[in-house]
């Protein structure tokens, strides 16, 4: 057994944008993922957080093979996936599944729940029809839906129930890793809590590893053992949950934490908030050096204009609980 379930190293995904002239090459490159590295252990959940456009979804999709990596390495259970031929990749795809943000768009409205849940089994030629149906019933039960509803269509369910169907579908092939792309952000708060609890329960029951992509730091804190914070295609900080939430190191992480509104009027009205200036720059034209420098309040503490000139490397310590790394010149 390999050491890590998933090991992503220096992953890049660049998209060509526009075209120079009629037959020319691309006019520009959008560096959606620009050198991302992390590891994920069996049964562990890693949160990938950051604002829109930071590359968290593209990272997950590239890991899964939905995008072809521009460069870098994705090792699943010790096997390099980026260079694997299509038929071989299929066997690994079985072991990694995905749950999507929009439970309305990710289910085929013309398929019954039973057919949605047995389809992955059919594609991978697992079991006979009767066994598949039994499996679908068991899956519905596992995600807290009534197995008697197996012949219903997606529109007969509420948003939260549809997300449960999406989760059941992801579980059908008994994966070891599930990539969750904002699985609760489209749901109402009370339903969100139900789904978060379900994901926790399933992780314990089936020993699942989650790569959990979300912008909501409070939800990530509920679900993830470790967190990687992304900004403009790069990881700026990774840490264990307790460390990240009690003592964030990177100036961006600190600003992000401080921007989350707290549902408590007493705290919310008194605390000092770091309000970042300006917008997230475009990944087509990222700032020089540390891409966070134009918005960083700590920049003046670093001498010699290094933030503007030099990309800070991820540095820190590594122990049994995982890495504690931060990419900031202040850390040196």
């Amino acid at each position: 057994m390999a050491e890590h379930l998933l090991e992503v190293r220096d992953l890049h995904k660049h998209f060509p944008v526009g075209r120079k002239g009629l037959l020319g090459g691309p006019a520009a490159m959008l560096r959606a993922v620009d050198g991302v590295s992390f590891t994920l252990e069996r049964g562990e959940s890693l949160g990938l957080v950051g604002e829109s456009g930071c590359g968290k979804s593209t990272t997950a999709r590239t890991v899964l093979g939905l995008h072809q990596a521009t460069s870098g390495s994705v090792r699943f259970d010790g096997v390099e996936l980026t260079t694997l031929a299509r038929p071989e990749r299929g066997a690994y795809r079985r072991r990694m599944q995905m749950i999507f943000q929009d439970p309305y768009a990710s289910l085929d409205p013309r398929q019954t729940v039973g057919s949605i849940l047995t389809e992955p089994l059919k594609i991978h030629r697992i079991g006979r029809p009767k066994e598949r149906k039994l499996r679908a019933l068991a899956l519905l039960d596992a995600v807290g839906l009534n197995p008697r509803h197996i012949n219903r269509y997606p529109h007969e369910f509420s948003g939260g129930q549809r997300q449960r169907i999406g989760i059941a579908r992801a579980l059908a092939l008994e994966p070891e890793l599930i990539l969750c792309d904002e699985p609760v952000s489209a749901l109402d708060v009370s339903i969100q809590a139900q789904i978060v609890n379900l994901l926790k329960e399933l992780q314990e029951r089936f020993g699942l590893a989650y790569l959990f992509i979300a912008h909501d730091l409070a939800v990530v804190r509920q679900l993830c053992h470790r967190v990687a914070v992304m900004y403009l295609g790069r990881v700026v900080e990774t840490a264990r949950r307790e460390e990240l939430y009690t003592a964030p190191k990177h100036p961006y992480t600190r600003a992000l934490m401080s921007a989350v509104p707290v549902p408590d009027p007493e705290i919310e009205r008194q605390r000092e908030r770091i309000v970042l200036e300006g917008d997230v720059p475009s990944p087509m034209n990222p700032p020089s050096g540390c891409s966070f420098h134009p918005r960083c309040a700590e920049r003046h503490r670093v001498a010699g204009g290094r933030c503007e000139a030099e990309i800070p490397a991820l540095r820190g310590t590594q122990d049994a609980g995982g890495a504690r790394l931060s990419a900031c010149h202040l850390e040196e």
Binding site: D188, V189, A193, N197, K200, P261, V262, P263, L276
Partner: protein, 334 residues
């Protein structure tokens, strides 16, 4: 003094599933210079209430069945479309969740802003341009003169929302209806916009009705809160009092199911059982009864009216037969 007094507002939609009572007899007031939070989950009627106040409900399928919306002494629901147009954008304005769809993609920022001023204030083109630039400056847009010539697609999401706010505030309305103004934005940009709205309100004394599903935003921004469920008011309270001691089981469930950055991440999150209500098929009694941990016999047959729940606070009302049982057990709902 109340600037806005909404009385018994009711809106229904005729749909294939049957009649949907999106807003079912809602009454509340908005005081001068205050921020009133309007909280509830999707389908609770918060947005429809605000659209109805401004005469923006598409008819059909929507019908404003009853109600009065008194802006100072004028009932907005009795105005002709022409009269309403003169009030809308002038005395009362609205900003929407998605600035990309609410700005006209074919018009420059200048044109979107000056149109309001030319219609409502009769300003000349050049006067309007000057005022529009000042408006952009007020909402923290750098280099406003240059930005006037930009089209919406050339601006970031945060900038577009600032333009929306600038547009809504140009005529210095008495009441601003803000429908999820920061939901589409990233948290660091949300923090900027909320700070801006707070500062502008202090400066101008605009009353704000803030529609949101984010209890953190409500905690920081609003003076009072209306909690809505299935088209009705579940509870109204001063913000601190609401968070300290909710008096409606739905509010209590909502507050306990929000994950925060400080609660125990190993513990199971409290959640509200069951599914959101089907507005076309509501139960006969309290709409929350099927999901309520406190439900009694009466709740299933009778709709609970809004009633005072605090001897010392006339503004504290809750629509629950069992509200006396809440808050006795401090950690209920878990």
């Amino acid at each position: 003094m109340s600037v806005l007094d909404v009385r018994n507002l009711a809106v229904r939609f005729e749909t294939h599933q049957g009649t949907v009572r999106a807003v079912d007899g809602v009454s509340f007031t908005v005081e001068e210079g205050e921020t009133l939070g309007l909280v509830g989950e999707s389908g609770s009627g918060k947005s429809v209430s605000c659209l109805a106040m401004l005469g923006l409900i598409p008819t059909p399928p929507g019908v404003v069945e009853s109600g009065e919306v008194l802006l100072e002494d004028t009932d907005l629901l009795r105005l002709s479309p022409d009269q309403l147009r003169r009030v809308r954008g002038n005395d009362i304005a609205m900003i929407f969740q998605d600035p990309m769809t609410s700005l006209n993609p074919l018009l420059t920022v200048e044109r979107q802003l000056t149109e309001v001023l030319e219609i409502h204030r009769g300003l000349s083109r050049s006067e309007a341009r000057k005022k529009a630039a000042a408006g952009l400056g007020d909402v923290g847009i750098p280099n406003p003169e240059a930005r006037l010539d930009a089209y919406p697609h050339e601006l970031s999401g945060g900038m577009r929302q600032r333009v929306m706010i600038a547009m809504a505030l140009l005529c210095e309305p008495k009441v601003l209806l803000a429908d999820e103004p920061t939901t589409a934005l990233d948290v660091t940009i949300q923090a900027q916009i909320l700070e801006l709205m707070g500062a502008l309100q202090q400066k101008r004394g605009t009353a704000i009705v803030l529609i949101t599903h984010d209890l953190g935003v409500v905690a920081g921004m609003s003076d009072r809160v209306n909690v809505m469920y299935a088209g009705r008011l579940a509870e109204t309270a001063e913000t601190r009092a609401l968070f300290a001691r909710p008096r409606h089981p739905y509010t209590e469930g909502l507050l306990t199911s929000v994950p925060s950055l400080t609660d125990d991440p190993e513990a199971e999150l409290a959640s509200i059982d069951g599914q959101p209500p089907d507005l076309a098929d509501l139960p006969p009694g309290c709409a929350f009864a099927p999901r309520c941990p406190y439900v009694g016999e009466r709740c299933r047959s009778e709709v609970p009216p809004l009633a005072r729940v605090d001897r010392d606070d006339a503004g504290r009302v809750s629509a629950c037969f069992e509200s006396a049982r809440l808050g006795r057990t401090e950690v209920a709902g878990g």
